[in-house]
């Protein structure tokens, strides 16, 4: 990591830590903010944060690995969640998951090579009446059929192309 990169890191981490008065009791919200800022929890950022708060880095690592919502590796710009709960599974969730894995060339928890999608299968989203369910970021797609998938993926790919 270059020096300038490091200065950038430090500045943004300081801003985040100051937001919570550098109080280690707020470690989790601070880490959430770090993740929002960087898209994941870079090791340098976590070590910098620990240093600012006067806590051991081992504590940050412990928290980061405990919660599913934290990621220590870069994540895609969109998270695509496929429900594999009993109902969704029976109503075609498995095929949807397989198609996405093939299409994006990812395994569970993985990120597509273009950095666009992180794929996460889950067990029941509590919306079984809408099965099978696919969620992208916070948008729900219900009664999804295999033939709907290209349209869904395309939507985010295009939005992303326009956004750049």
């Amino acid at each position: 990591m270059s020096e300038t990169m490091h200065a950038d890191y430090l500045a943004s981490i300081e801003t985040i830590a100051d937001r919570y008065g550098r109080n280690p009791d707020f470690l989790i919200p601070m880490m959430q903010d770090v993740q929002t800022a960087f898209g994941y929890l870079p090791r340098d950022a976590l070590e910098g944060l620990a240093d600012l708060l006067g806590i051991p880095p081992s504590q940050c690592f412990s928290v980061a690995t405990f919660y599913k919502s934290f990621s220590l590796v870069p994540r895609g710009r969109h998270t695509i969640t496929v429900c594999l709960g009993t109902v969704c599974y029976l109503k075609g969730g498995r095929e949807i998951a397989e198609t996405i894995e093939r299409e994006l060339e990812v395994k569970a928890g993985g990120t597509s090579r273009d950095g666009l999608f992180t794929y996460e299968p889950v067990n029941c989203l509590g919306a079984c009446a809408l099965a099978p369910v696919v969620v992208v970021d916070s948008e729900y797609y219900d009664h999804v059929k295999l033939r709907d998938l290209p349209r869904i993926l395309k939507k985010y790919r295009e939005a992303d192309r326009k956004g750049q």
Binding site: R43, P56, P57, S58, Q59, C60, F61, S62, T65, F66, L72
Partner: protein, 271 residues
């Protein structure tokens, strides 16, 4: 000060101070309660569940972990009831599944009456750890290094160095190895390096300045020296053997039985 309360353990009445745990009081009375994650040097954590006892609360009995159960007036506890012994054996079977190879654990299991040749083994896991947390606590609370911690969760839970890479905070003091009840932590010396496994903490090794024997990590030596003063600091980089020798020489030279090292500071006891 401390308020005194009266409680009954296995039918015998006794007095104890508020703030004491049921385990402390029961052991003082001679009750045999097996423990794995309890160590007087660190705060109780209640991880291994082996210290189960039965307590009577409002006419109903229930099982609690005695190592972290605070006593109070009128408490009634049973440490050897059938229910307790059965529950402990159940817990022990689960622990054995995690660390089936540990001779320490097998010995304890035997003493509890578990002799079935067929031991369960659910985790061909990463390594033999019962996740008692003693190494984590001793590193954090006693050494102040916090070089290891619990990581991940559920079946993936494991004790690691941060980012699963050698931690610069590790003193290679060996406290983790000393407290591990199943003998899973070891210090491996390789030339001038000592590695604390399975955490993979590689640190510069400390040698006895007299005989050259390897006696832990340099970091530990520095930390200990910081906390001692005067002539005591001279004993930091000596192995136990050489310490004794030098001490004996000093006594002989003085011609009388003087103590070679000054008295221990207040509050510190010799083990």
């Amino acid at each position: 000060m401390g308020e005194t309360v009266t409680l009954t353990i296995d039918g015998r009445e006794t007095q104890a101070k508020v703030g004491e745990t049921l385990l402390q009081v029961a052991r003082r009375m001679g009750a045999a309660i097996p423990t794995l994650c309890y160590h007087p040097a660190v705060s109780p954590y209640g991880a291994c569940r082996l210290c189960l006892v039965e307590v009577k609360v409002r006419g109903r009995t229930r099982l609690v972990t005695s190592c972290c159960y605070p006593i109070r007036e009128g408490l009634e506890a049973f440490t050897q009831s059938d229910r307790v012994l059965k529950a402990r054996r159940g817990v022990m079977r689960l622990l054995l599944a995690r660390a089936p190879e540990s001779p320490e654990l097998r010995k304890l299991a035997e003493s509890m009456g578990i002799t079935d040749p067929q031991l369960p083994s659910v985790t061909k896991g990463k390594r033999d750890c019962i996740l008692c947390g003693l190494c984590v606590s001793v590193c954090n609370e006693v050494m102040g290094a916090a070089a290891i911690s619990f990581s991940y969760r559920g079946v993936e839970r494991v004790v690691t160095a941060p980012f699963e890479q050698s931690s610069p905070a590790c003193l290679a003091c060996g406290a983790c190895a000393a407290v591990c009840p199943v003998g899973s932590v070891v210090l491996e010396y390789d030339g001038e390096t000592v590695t604390v496994e399975p955490f993979g903490n590689r640190r510069p090794a400390l040698r006895c300045r007299e005989c050259g024997a390897l006696i832990g990590g340099k970091g530990m030596g520095e930390r200990v020296a910081q906390q001692l003063s005067g002539r005591l600091t001279q004993a930091v980089d000596l192995c136990a053997e050489c310490k004794r020798k030098i001490s004996a020489q000093a006594i002989c030279q003085a011609g009388t039985a003087v103590v070679a090292w000054p008295a221990l500071p207040e509050g510190v006891t010799e083990r």
